[in-house]
């Protein structure tokens, strides 16, 4: 491990510590029972198997959207449509789960594959608009999120809605489509294996294939990439399509693993969380699960705290925002880094001088 990596890890940890301290201060100010709140927040998820399993369950969708954003950010494409692609992936899985009758195993696989394809198709739109007419992918993908949301809600309400259920939910999915639980008495499902598989595939794709190399080059320096013969436009296209596919797969997996029917009335927000995960993991797929676990742990901890004490769980949003800004801040602790490098350089020069002197003697 080289010096740079150690520095990056240290910086990330510092950012997390500072953000947590700020959250603690806020909790101390607003809560009547700050110690209970803090212990629930920090240790709550570890107190029961069920709670810890909740952390892992929530880390699954965060991993998917984190990976999706990773690939797009790695190519320097600020496409924020993972939110909508995730949602549409779940809607697609609902359609397949309700309208198709297939044997187990094949049923969820088909649903997840279709979810991925739909996600890919949707995120192809901002990519295409950018390549063809240079339309800003950031703005178009943000708008597209709302379009995908209303389209998905329309499909569920008009074609899949269970009028006997009282609430605005879809029919129950066929049980053959659902992902079974991995560990009894928890809701942890086979989706975690799909997520792990996805991490490995994404890693190999980014670091061991020609296409992944092209993505990294375009993200690193797009002019240099163009001059060295990389087709910039195709990279812009496929990086976002792949991002959409991963997000769509994530949405389908989440729905089949955690729910028996479609019941979201809002965008679930995992696309934005994916941005946090991607930044925390430095766009490195191998670190994505760690970042997803961390974020999920915070969320579950905050939920447990909010259940028992007077502190609302949204205190997490303070931590999230500060972590993003500090981790992504180039100058955060940069002075310290310079000092370390300068000190080391001076020592090396001194050592060389001593060597030189010894030679002369």
């Amino acid at each position: 491990m080289n010096k740079d990596n150690i520095f990056e890890i240290f910086r990330t940890l510092m950012a997390i510590v500072i953000s947590l301290i700020l959250a603690f201060i806020i909790i101390f100010f607003i809560s009547k029972q700050p110690y209970v709140a803090l212990s629930k927040f920090l240790l709550g998820p570890l107190s029961k198997t069920r709670y810890f399993s909740n952390v892992l369950e929530m880390a699954i969708p965060l991993t998917f959207t984190g990976l999706a954003i990773c690939i797009m950010f790695k190519a320097n494409q600020f496409n924020l449509g993972a939110e909508g692609a995730f949602f549409m992936g779940a809607v697609t899985a609902t359609i397949i789960g309700i309208k198709f009758s297939l044997p187990g195993l094949i049923h969820p696989i088909l649903a997840i594959v279709c979810g991925g394809i739909i996600g890919g198709i949707f995120l192809f739109i901002p990519a295409f608009l950018k390549v063809k007419w240079n339309a800003n992918e950031l703005v178009s993908s943000l708008m597209l999120n709302y379009v995908m949301f209303y389209l998905g809600i329309y499909i569920v309400n008009y074609y899949l809605r269970d009028s006997n259920a009282g609430a605005m939910v879809s029919y129950k999915l066929k049980t053959t489509a659902l992902l079974p639980n991995l560990i009894p008495k928890t809701r942890l499902h086979y989706g975690i294996l799909i997520a792990i598989l996805m991490i490995i595939i994404t890693y190999f794709f980014l670091f061991r294939t020609k296409w992944g190399y092209a993505i990294r080059m375009v993200g690193f320096n797009s002019k240099f990439a163009i001059y060295s013969g990389i087709n910039n436009k195709s990279v812009i296209l496929y990086s976002q399509i792949i991002g959409g596919i991963i997000a769509g797969i994530g949405g389908a997996t989440e729905l089949l693993g955690m729910y028996s029917r479609f019941q979201w009335q809002n965008l679930p927000g995992y696309g934005w969380d994916g941005v946090i995960v991607a930044i925390l993991s430095r766009n490195n797929p191998v670190l994505v699960p760690i970042a997803a676990f961390f974020l999920s742990y915070l969320r579950i901890g905050a939920d447990l705290m909010a259940r028992i004490t007077d502190v609302p769980s949204e205190v997490v949003s303070v931590i999230q925002a500060l972590v993003i800004m500090l981790v992504a801040a180039e100058s955060f602790l940069a002075k310290w880094k310079h000092r370390v490098i300068a000190k080391k350089a001076i020592e090396e020069i001194k050592a060389e001088e001593v060597n030189m002197n010894e030679q002369y003697i």
Partner: protein, 311 residues
């Protein structure tokens, strides 16, 4: 179809367009200023949300509309300082800072709303004040135009005046020259002694102040309460309005009106037998279509310029 035309060609629809346009126009003008200074302000959405809540809470506590609006603006300035400090001093990518601030605003407003009103959805338990509507004498007597233009919220009129103010600020004042210089070429601006960071601080500050007027309008004029994520993407639509308005205050006014039209259409068509999901989709689809048309024109212009240069 007849029904749709009946709705569109009524004076109340014209009035509704201007009502819906106001927050988009404010934020769009905010986007103009920051963009001219060469920094993209994604945090407009979060700024609007923050000041919408601040306005409601402070006006409820002080029972004064004036203090509510002042507090809303101060909260906007606070957001701009946060944004500037991280993006300019700590060199965080400004898009990421903006995303972070938006996430903070979306969660943080729920957090504060719960602490103050013990509700995570809506602020109706607070007795907050609204900014009054004004009837403009003489103007309200003109047939057709009168009912469309008169009787709006004070902030709606302020948003129109802001178009002129932003125009004058950018093109007729020394500060405007500096802002544009910093945006065009920061190195050149630096070389003639302009403090680039300082100018960008000021630009982001003005940008967020404009957005916070939009936020105050949302919760103290458009409706009389705060509800979670009530801005629902208006800050992002404003970015598109600015891009399509070519970064020009007057152009932004026109594109904001276009999105105002889409928004008003969406609000009014909900009574018809069209699936409400599609109706609600209109403003966002219109934004994408508008962005594409703008981008096509821009690419064609560039091609044309190249051809002229080559000829």
């Amino acid at each position: 179809m007849n029904n749709i035309f009946k709705i569109i060609f009524s004076t109340s629809f014209g009035y509704a367009i201007l009502r819906v346009t106001t927050p988009i126009l404010f934020s769009g003008l905010g986007a103009v200023i920051s963009d001219k200074a060469g920094v993209i302000n994604i945090a407009l959405e979060g700024t609007m949300l923050t000041s919408a809540l601040t306005g409601v809470i402070v006006s409820a506590l002080t029972q004064s509309t004036f203090f509510g609006v002042i507090a809303a603006i101060l909260s906007g300035i606070f957001v701009s300082l946060l944004l500037s400090y991280f993006s300019l001093n700590l060199k965080t990518d400004i898009v990421l800072t903006g995303i972070a601030i938006n996430l903070l605003a979306s969660g943080g407003t729920i957090f504060i709303l719960y602490l103050v009103a013990h509700d995570k959805g809506i602020s109706t338990s607070l007795n907050s004040k609204v900014i009054p509507n004004v009837t403009i004498p003489l103007l309200n007597k003109i047939p057709i135009l009168g009912p469309i233009l008169s009787g709006h919220n004070i902030l709606t009129y302020l948003s129109w005046i802001s178009v002129a103010i932003v125009y004058i600020l950018l093109y007729k004042t020394p500060l405007g020259v500096r802002i544009r210089a910093v945006g065009e070429n920061p190195e050149a601006a630096e070389s003639v002694g302009i403090n680039v960071n300082k100018i960008r601080y000021i630009a982001l500050c003005i940008s967020c102040i404009l957005a916070s007027f939009g936020g105050a309008y949302m919760s103290m004029g458009y409706v009389s309460w705060f509800s979670t994520n009530m801005t629902s993407g208006r800050g992002f639509i404003a970015l598109a309005a600015e891009a399509m308005g070519k970064g020009n205050p007057v152009g932004t006014l026109l594109t904001s009106l276009l999105f105002g039209f889409a928004g008003a259409l969406s609000n009014n068509l909900q009574s018809l037998r069209i699936p409400s999901e599609f109706v609600q989709m209109i403003p966002y689809l219109a934004t994408i279509v508008g962005l594409v048309i703008y981008s096509i024109r821009k690419t064609n212009m560039l091609k044309y310029k190249k051809e002229v240069q080559n000829a």
